[in-house]
Amino acid sequence: MTPQPIIRVENVSFAYQVNQDQQIPVLQNVSLEVFPGEYVAIIGHNGSGKSTLSKHLNGILTPKEGDVIVNGINTREKQRIHEVRSRVGIVFQHPDNQIVATIVEDDVAFGLENIGTSAEEMKTRVDFALEAVGMSAFRHRPPHHLSGGQKQRIAIAGILAMKPQVLVMDEATSMLDSYGRQDILAVVRKLHREGMTIVTVTHHMSEVAEADRVIVMEGGRIVLEGTPREVFSHQERLRELHLDVPDASRIAQLVHSEYSEFTPDLIHNEEVVAEVNRLYVRQAEASGS
């Protein structure tokens, strides 16, 4: 039996109403399935519809046409929206818009208070969430005095405390420095290993390289889909779509164009290093014999 998708996006179209007789179409007939335990990355330039799509995944936006089904629940069913949101948590780009409390641990506990979690369970979950994002030492600080990156980690902790099945990251690392980003990615990797489904919307191509599946959006449609390696092999097409490839791919292709033995479709830094090792050793052996 094939596994049931945890999120099913079926022929969804969406438009923003500018004024009475003008609409800006953002999503056009998008269909997508996300399976339990998957790690999906959505890329596309600003205005391609990727953020709008991610806001459909837990019913923040509902489709103009088509349906979004989360674990069997249609996001149009307003009375069941809490069920949807307890399964799918979204972390957004701007931390400031997501912080509500005056003390870090209260902020992380905010969602739990709303669903009536017991004090003991709340403490366990807040501890877990703060630990996961490396912010335990800050639990008694006021969040507005933290730096942008630190605030974002708190926002992520607030979602993690709810223990959702699907974590959607809408450019959630784009305001972090590279170490902050690495911290968050390590957390995401760990959660994914433990079975959480991850959907990430991002501009960071090295982040995309970690996903199982990549979805490329343009003009409100899905235009390319595949494993990171497949997608990044379409360098020309990506350039047309004004998208980058990871530096590792870029370098591999540059070296390959001068030296055809060098494998072109590498996407991770380690792979480039390993490929240099492989060819170096081979050359050393050749000259030694």
Binding site: H145, L146, M175, Y179, G180, H203, D247, V255, N269, Q283
Partner: protein, 286 residues
Amino acid sequence: MMQPIVNVENLSHIYMQGTPLEHRALDQVSIQVAEGECLAIIGHTGSGKSTLIQHFNGLIRPQSGTVIINGMDVSSPKIDIRTLRRQVGLVFQNPEDQLFEKLVGDDVAYGPFRMGLPLEEVRRRVQWAMDLVGLSFQEMKDRPTFALSGGQKRKVALAGVLSLQPKVLVLDEPTAGLDPRSRLELLDRIRRLNREEKLTVIFVSHNMEEVAKLADRVYVMANGQSVCEGTPRQIFGNQELLRQHHIGTPESVDILYRLHEQGYSIDPSAFLPEETAMEILKLLNR
């Protein structure tokens, strides 16, 4: 260095001083910026970068130490703060969140209009500023601000600051959150402002590719202190220092360092992908 346009000496700042939440954000920081320079300030989150730059246009007054901008002492109670802010344009993180007028042209015009300039001059400046950031005056001036893309909004915010014709432009994470195309375009605009309009540019960034492309000189901040200063090549060549202060390197430098650590003879300060590819080819005798 000739008379620096920005001169910070022994600047310290403590948030919530005298409370249990007391936090030392800046600790004896000294930096100098020459006129026409393009300077990057890098550092781990919480290292004090944003606190530092808020001193440059008097949003925060020095608690101890001095900040002199183009001869004006920011700590002096007699300073004309409006004159200072006309000289130093500060563009915050996510400036697009701060657009408040309904139409693009009005938003850019707000500053010069408040300065009491004649309408003709306001219009000229708006046109000039929009042109500098690559927004067509004719096409965009009557566009509603809410219907712009993130990249366009950021350009509008930048134009709003430029319309005051500052001598120093200070940017906090200028390209964070932009897609690759908008990022490259904005970087190109900033570089031109610096090189062609001779604007002194100071920017805070955690994007090392951006620092590599744009900056003449880099200050590294850690724990509220300025710990190191040099050209991008000098800074990125010092992996020890960057690791110690939790500052990332451009991805291509990471590859070179891994090779370097494995004992290959390689120049780890070659920080652009093209240079990295060249280094690898050299290594493989190609």
